[in-house]
């Protein structure tokens, strides 16, 4: 199996490589693009934190939130305005950007602006979505559906490959454990990594309690550092966390986004664990316990 390395970033932004034994990459930002001013503020503050920690990063924020639990919840600022903001964030901060899209018709425009396109977990096996993502020609951040086994993500990867794209980052964001509850199965990382593509841990969605509060989702943020350390030790290549300067007033995922005040601490720990993981690989080699012998 050949381990693939993704390069995220076109034009003048920083080129971020993800995969194999390269340094851990952070993907993060506010869940939704709220206002241009807020997007810039978050890009500025998160960028400073990443520079202090010494970690490469990709700015993530979405223009349309199609999976909200309530019709009254904030749905997003819309594709055209959202992509304009993301384009300006790229220009101003020199950071690559990623946004998800939830309608195949939005794939082309999203890919024209974003350095990476994201397929939402709930849509991770929809052929039309995967084809649209593939046709952007951009690296694809593909979230494992909460209902999907890690081995069945190979089918989604094959759909993307069949459409001519061979740049995929596979992420775990938790798996349904009964109703309104998620659990992280850490074996998903080596299983998905067996596709040859790099893997990512989405920490802030993993602690979500989906639609646990009637018409919105809850979350157990106190577990984020625990899960981050575990996932990074398992060998993920990238870490995804949504972060916000004022979670109580965040327009999306208010109960799961990480308060910015914790970001430096958690990224710092993640970086150290990742470096230790690489040291272990150097010292002991790749894990080689045979399943049968």
């Amino acid at each position: 199996m050949v381990k693939k390395i993704l390069e995220v970033g076109y034009g003048s932004v920083e080129k971020v490589q993800i995969g194999d034994r390269l340094p851990l990459v952070f993907i993060g930002g506010p869940c939704a693009i709220e206002t241009r001013g807020h997007a810039f503020k978050m890009a500025d503050e998160i960028g400073k934190i990443c520079r202090r920690v010494g970690i490469s990063w990709i700015y993530k924020s979405c223009f349309d939130k199609d999976c909200r639990s309530s019709p009254d919840s904030f749905h997003g600022i819309g594709m055209h305005e959202g992509l304009r903001v993301l384009s300006d964030v790229r220009d101003e901060f020199g950071v690559p950007v990623v946004s998800d899209f939830s309608d195949p018709a939005w794939g082309k425009a999203t890919g024209e602006v974003c350095d990476m396109v994201q397929v939402p977990a709930y849509l991770c096996r929809q052929t039309s979505m995967l084809r649209a993502a593939a046709q952007t020609g951009r690296p694809i951040h593909l979230k494992k559906g909460q209902f999907m086994s890690p081995w069945n993500m190979k089918n989604s990867v094959r759909k993307i490959e069949a459409a001519g794209n061979h740049q995929v980052l596979l992420a775990d964001r938790g798996t349904f454990f009964g109703y309104n509850m998620l659990v992280n199965d850490m074996t998903c990382f080596p299983i998905m990594a067996a596709t040859g593509y790099p893997v990512c841990f989405d920490a802030t969605h993993s602690i979500q309690l989906p639609t646990s509060m009637g018409n919105i989702s809850g979350g157990q943020r106190q577990f984020i550092p625990h899960l981050v350390r575990a996932a990074v030790a398992c060998g993920v290549n990238a870490l995804f966390m949504e972060a916000h300067d004022d979670p109580d007033n965040a327009l999306s995922d208010a109960n799961t986004v990480l308060n910015l005040r914790y970001l430096e601490n958690i990224l710092g720990q993640a970086k150290i664990v990742h470096e230790m993981r690489l040291e272990l690989l150097d010292k002991f080699g790749e894990d080689n316990v045979h399943p049968e012998k």
Binding site: S149, W151, P291
Partner: protein
């Protein structure tokens, strides 16, 4: 009395590829099983894009594997068939004599021999039943 026919070559008796389960390298295990069922043979040949033989899956190997495998069937089914195939299997070339091929099959206790050319490209499959029938002069 039957007379052993020493002048028959493997190419005279081998099954053509349209009758043999032949699968690509990235075909999943479940699809390999389906193809073996469709062609009613206890062997599948895994080939590269250039049609070079990469490995074989046989009924016996699959039976033993089922007793060993320690993962859910849904995960097992989506594995690449090649992951579970015998790589570098015993093969024969089309110009070899059938007698030589059948002796080899007897010695190794196998029912099928993939037939490959000098470049390792799969060109057919020698199955024991038609091989024995040909040696014995039994016609279909």
């Amino acid at each position: 009395m039957f007379t052993q026919k020493n002048n028959i070559l493997v190419r005279d008796v081998m099954m053509s590829l349209d009758r043999v389960p032949v699968i690509g390298e990235s075909v999943i295990f479940k699809e390999a099983l389906e193809e073996m069922g469709r062609k009613r043979l206890g062997i599948a040949c895994v080939v590269s894009e250039q049609k070079r033989l990469k490995g074989i899956l046989t009924d016996g190997d699959i039976r033993r594997m089922l007793l060993r495998v320690q993962k859910p069937f849904s995960a097992f089914f989506v594995d690449d068939a090649l992951d579970h195939a015998i790589q570098s299997p015993l093969t024969i070339e089309p110009a070899h004599t059938l007698v030589h091929a059948v002796r080899l099959m007897d010695e190794k206790h196998i029912w099928d021999l993939p037939v490959v050319d000098g470049a390792g490209v799969l060109v057919g499959l020698l199955h024991l039943h038609p091989a024995v029938e040909a040696l014995l002069g039994i016609e279909d």
